[in-house]
């Protein structure tokens, strides 16, 4: 598994292998779309063999592909909310009776990274009320017990996200941690159109940037659910895709040009081709990402959808 093929989506890691060999230790299952416009794929990494192959921790990765996710909707995408609530309810049964800590990871001031902090801003926060008045009183009727943090990024705090969350867990003893994060995808069709839900937390080295070490059940001591949407694509990935398409087109042409390109393709596997692409790209491209120009609007819109889902998940009043 080549780490240079940057994606945070397990489904994309799996796809790379899909057509070439049997994926031992990995189970990929398309679920029956219960809701129109939402395609669900579940990737299960069953053991360490699968984990090493696919570069993802053992656990479940549920991918919702939703063409309308980045579009405006006055009802905050109720059917998307419903699907997210159902999936999370399966992963965390009886969540309304649990103490939930939500962590919005990322940099509030950078549009493609602001998803987590924005979701946290719109949540219905109740832990302090439940602490003061108890559950199911006149004031807290229908409320779960939800607290939330936007821990910021290391360049702004000097503290690892992991450390801040550990400290907060140590002091407030939640039963489950839900982490919201902006992801990097490989395929432009998934940008702002995919939600990934996983019970593995956030793995070391994941995605764009510098999360540092894992935020998972092992490090946090409680179950960790991660909810993410890809908001950027590494610029190199875009180029690589197009070059791949170019070569494929050439290969299909039944002439001598196609034939000699054909030989070349046989000599390059995916990650070699990616390396070649990176070398051919200008060095300035290294920290460039592909994102729509109105990412500011889109991330705000999507954050309302996710926070609405979390509010419906955790409370019976929201």
């Amino acid at each position: 598994m080549n780490s240079s093929l940057r994606t945070d989506l397990a489904i994309e890691n799996a796809e790379m292998f899909h057509e070439q060999e049997e994926l031992q230790g990995i189970c990929i299952r398309e679920e029956d779309g219960r809701r129109a416009g939402i395609r669900i794929t579940r990737v299960t990494v069953e053991n360490e063999v699968g984990a090493r192959k696919i570069g993802k921790a053992v656990g479940d990765y549920i991918t919702l592909e939703i063409p309308e996710l980045d579009m405006e909707d006055v009802s905050y995408h109720q059917s998307i909310c419903d699907e997210v609530v159902e999936q999370l309810t399966e992963l965390v049964p009886d969540i309304r009776n649990k103490k939930v800590l939500v962590a919005g990871i990322g940099n509030r001031k950078m549009a493609p990274d602001a998803l987590g902090p924005l979701v946290v801003e719109h949540l219905l926060i109740t832990r302090h009320l439940v602490q003061e008045y108890g559950k199911n009183t006149e004031i807290t009727r229908g409320m779960g017990c939800v607290s939330a943090l936007a821990p910021g990024v290391m360049a702004q705090t000097g503290i690892e996200t992991r450390e801040i969350l550990l400290g907060a867990i140590h002091e407030t003893h939640p039963d489950v941690l839900i982490v919201i994060d902006a992801l990097a995808a490989r395929n432009v069709r998934r940008l702002n159109k995919t939600i990934q839900i996983t019970n593995t937390g956030i793995a070391p080295g994941a995605g764009v940037g510098n999360r540092r070490f894992g935020i998972d059940r092992d490090s946090m001591g409680i179950p960790v659910i991660a909810l993410g949407i890809p908001t950027v694509i590494d610029a190199a990935a875009i180029v690589d895709d197009t070059v791949g398409n170019l070569l494929a087109v050439m290969d299909s042409e039944a002439n001598s040009l196609g034939q000699c390109i054909g030989k070349m393709i046989k000599n390059l596997d995916d990650s070699e081709r990616y390396q070649l692409v990176r070398e051919l790209m200008a060095p300035e491209m290294v920290n460039m990402f592909v994102t729509p120009k109105n990412m500011d609007e889109i991330v705000l819109q999507m954050s309302y959808t996710l926070s609405e889902a979390l509010n419906q998940l955790c409370h019976s009043i929201a």
Copy 2:
């Protein structure tokens, strides 16, 4: 000591008693203004007797009164910075060799409460670099070890500020905590024109709103320095001042009107008068504050001054 006379400034608590009696256990000292345009007063609460009388914890409260603090200045008010650096250096000797955690208390989204979070945004954060490269390497030369948090407010997190800071201290082991907070003053002349520096931290019930419990050496386990600027005044305080002035004017008039008012004044002490004022005010005034209309601009401007001071305090490069 009447808790209804809301102020976070020890100097204002002290002033209330000043003219009436000897203040046992309290020492008030005007210091020699080393810098033009900055008037320095040090209130020392020497023991529990003084603390009870004045309603402030035992410790030092240094008040810098600076008429120019809320004005624009291209050099970020260098002389104010210098004074703040000097005062803090006295309170925390050898701070450049210490691990410093800065906490920006308050609500980033409300202008008069945003001072702390804004200061944190402009700090030079280095803990992660010192952790990775060590001190005094090519990369970290001149850098102290500074980390920072803006823990948000309880309505947004469900977690007490105290809990988040305790957790972070537990994980990152700083040597000293510096807390930045927006304060409430009693006197409009001090609004946005005063910096209070204290080694007592933030006391229970202080100021406007709901800090909940103390953030001090006792609760945090490390020295806590608090740096604050008053950005609001309780609307009732303004009215009370004016009524006080009105009655004083009347009393000085040497006629029968003055005389009967005179009798009335004798029957009301300060806190009784304040109670009367509150009763006379519309109930809607309870959560109203007096603040300049351009508070958004002023708080940003002042936050640069404080963060500049902290950068100069903690690093030798900033």
Copy 3:
């Protein structure tokens, strides 16, 4: 009429005279509350005599007093919207067939002044679509013709609001101008709880700050409707109210104290008392305003309600 009693609400100007004399040229009428929780008063300034007396231009001033206006509401206060739509429909019949220019007056960066610019941000803007595709095409079905500007404030542009709007009207030929503005009230009970709708535009010298000259039918050449909500109160007004209450209480006491105060009151009319209050206040109070600490949240919330009303007014699809 004393200009120092600052209010932008005609109803408050009228109230000052109410109890003292017959108001010639002014008609005040409470309308039947068609909707629960909304009290409607219509002040009509009938002629120049009334205008001089009350300090407001000839025309209609409809005041909606709505205790819930500053509270959160998931449905954007549908009944408030409905009332605003009805009132505006009376003032501008057949508005869906007219070209409407909306101007959001004020400073986007100062919370109490941001109402107008925020309303403009949430409007459904269609003029460019109607220009390109025509009315009632597949793309523009149900759309009125709405354009909008947030002209900023003179300190930021160097240009008077009036000049920018005149220029835009000159170029785009709208049929009607709707101006949204944050107002100053006199009475704290009206702060963030009142909508004033008037067909007189914005009068010279109105409200807090420096609008400069009028924005009305005369200066703009087209009908001008102004929609405003009071978001600040001059600090002096608060004090004045309380002092008034104090003196009233004293007067009612049947003793010698009450009697001598009684004499004093007889010697002060409202505006003299206000002058006295200003003299007794600290000079720093001059540019201070009373506003709730969470004005940032409240103004955002209220802006959604007004823009929702305008969208429903101008389009049949929003």
Copy 4:
């Protein structure tokens, strides 16, 4: 000239032809770098023949290439400021005695498009002071006469930028219009590292998005200077560059593979290759742009540099 090769930089249009043929009607001149770290190229479109060839209006295009432009600098890049001031002084002699209107084009809420509105926010605005007090009074000493607008984008206003500016010019009679705009580049090395200054204004159809019609001396009736920085690159341009590099590498390989690719290259000119690339790309790429993830920070930083330059240009006090 193929319009699909999107760039707003005249230097990039010129480069495309550079090596292939003599550019009739175009003069390209590298100027002596008077300042370290700033490379200056002047492209002069001399007549309509040149204009048609290069797809740019007749006039001067000065390109400053500055590797440090997107980096933080406490002095706001004084040497860059100085260069910009010098270049603008040449284009608009005696500007301090002229009435200047600055227009910040673009969408304030989208980071890569916010350059213009941000520059306007930081300008020293003086027209209203000069109007009120006259020039060279105690208050206005050293001040030029500057007004400014951020007209917003058509989707938010329904009005074309051109119309708003025309209206403002009609009302306020400035002597010169300076337009600030975010541009699209073709080459990633120029992204956030180039300033283009031109006396041609903004041409119809320029750049990313929908400026609509020209903002130039013809349409505005006064000289129009445009100042821009490229902040985005069309994603297709990136891919195209890399494919070009790939083919070039192949061509240079002295084997049969190289030879057959060589033949293919001969059969594709630049714009045909670009078309091929677009077809090979996913359709979702159409509205995607390449930009650094921290564009929010960079655009703010660069806006300070440009507004500082304009302040120094127009005033002798700033």
